[in-house]
Amino acid sequence: MTVIAKTSPVAKISPVWRGRAAVVAGYIAGFASLFVVWHIAATYVVSSVLFPPPGRVVFKAVELARDGILGQQIAVSMRRILTGFACGSLIGIPIGLAIGSFAPVRRMLEPYTEFFRFIPATAMITVAVIWFGIGEGSKIFLIIYTTVFIVILNTAAGVSAVTPNKIRAARSLGANRAQVFLYVALPATVPYILTGMRLAMGNSFVTIIAAELVAANAGLGKMIWDARLYMLVDQIFVALLVLGALGFITDRLFRWAIYTFAGRYSPVT
């Protein structure tokens, strides 16, 4: 469809915008079909109070949003994710760079990364709650935990993937070791760092919900848990719908940021 639009001789709108319009149209059609399937399944196939159709869920979402409850829960969960994600990335990137650049550092820190990456953040929830309580501390700790190892591993892999010729070229163009790191190794690693961060963002969503389900005083996970106690199935589905939407939007924003600010580093697709 895009190709036809691009080559069409009657095209008056720029091909870029036509391409974007096609992408947006595709998304709208895709999501619309999801809602249609959901509606058919809930109304005609299952037809149970335990599986509400999309109309009722959206209605409930509007109601919760009007009361300010939904916005509040979203804000709580997102703040935890973003704080932990930012801290985790800030810790992970320099460690990853050090591991990738210096073999002794790698040998020293590899036991940590290789050990802890097999202990999922969800397994650490109990420990986090015991240590930091059920408030913000434990949630941010868990998000940092889930972020930091992915970012470290991807950053380190990025550093070691810099082709030797890039470094040799820089050296014979007169760059000293510090300049090689700053102007060659670092920018060459950016796509890997961004990929790691994007994966970490996805994991953060998993972790925050799990953590809020187990022990929290607010947040989308808590909202699901509370709704379960009172059998508010509609409310559970609102939370699920919001989670999907938040994850999707966050990932798109991240991608958009990469294209806008780091597109020249041949970004992740």
Partner: protein
């Protein structure tokens, strides 16, 4: 008139230690002298150690023994006096524009933006990339990327260009064009060039002198052929061109046979 050579390698050996105990001598008693202003082609079969020789001159690798000098000074590691053009495009920086790649060396030595910008632009123009300044390497063809590499090295104004089979990955037509361009650039700038190739045709087309290497291991130069051809004789249908070709071919034929026997 005897002037000191720009590059001098005397009795150079390069031995790679293997963990299994069997050492591999890529070069043994390797001698090479390149005068300023020459376009010297180092010709050899694959695996003969010609890239090793270039890497030693570039300072990427250290000779196990022997003297390695540029302009009378011993080479200790890479330096801006020796610009390297690599075979592949993986030495370019895809996050920089063509201009950014070309001015990289100038930026590293702290040249003012306006000055380096101007110089980089003039070298991009010299290699025929005017108008491509803001493109990034992945947007450009293989031939254009090699032009960026050449401009990047020239902009840095080194004593010598070390070119490691820079056109080997290009298609035949592009390669022929690039060879002509290189000769033109060499004539305009008067730079010294060490050009590595396994292609006799390419060597005879470009070189003022051709150093033919023995098959590896323990390789060294078998002989040097002076290529006394005018620009209009550098054509593979020209009789004098063919004569030089035959002479070089005669020298290398035996080495190819040895190389093939050894790899079999």
């Amino acid at each position: 008139m005897v002037s000191a050579p720009l590059v001098r390698l005397a009795g150079v050996s390069k031995i790679y230690r293997s963990l299994q105990g069997g050492d591999y001598a890529a070069l043994r008693d390797f001698d090479l002298e390149i005068a300023a202003g020459e376009l010297f082609c180092l010709l050899g079969t694959s695996g003969c150690g010609k890239t090793t020789a270039l890497n030693i001159i570039a300072g990427f690798e250290e000779a196990t023994s022997g003297a390695v000098e540029i302009a009378g000074h011993t080479i200790k590691g890479p330096g801006a006096d020796r610009g390297v053009v690599f075979q592949g495009d993986d030495s370019l920086y895809p996050w920089l524009t063509a201009l950014g790649n070309v001015e990289f060396g100038l930026r590293m030595r702290g040249m003012k933006r306006r000055e380096r910008d101007e110089r980089a632009r003039s070298y991009l123009e010299l290699v025929g990339l005017r108008g491509q300044e803001t493109k990034h390497p992945p947007e450009l063809s293989g031939g254009m990327k090699q032009r960026i590499q050449i401009a990047r090295v020239l902009a840095n104004e080194p004593e010598i260009l070390l070119m490691d089979e820079p056109f080997a990955a290009l298609d035949a037509q592009t390669r022929a064009v690039m060879q002509q361009e290189l000769v033109k650039i060499w004539q305009t700038t008067g730079k010294t060039v060490l050009f590595i190739t396994h292609d006799i045709d390419e060597a005879v087309t470009l070189a003022t002198r051709i150093g033919v290497m023995h098959a590896g291991p323990e390789s060294r130069i078998k002989g040097v052929v002076e290529v006394d051809l005018a620009a209009d004789e550098r054509d593979r249908t020209n009789d004098r061109f063919v004569a030089v070709y035959r002479q070089v071919h005669e020298m290398i034929r035996e080495e190819v046979a040895i190389a093939m026997r050894r790899s079999a």
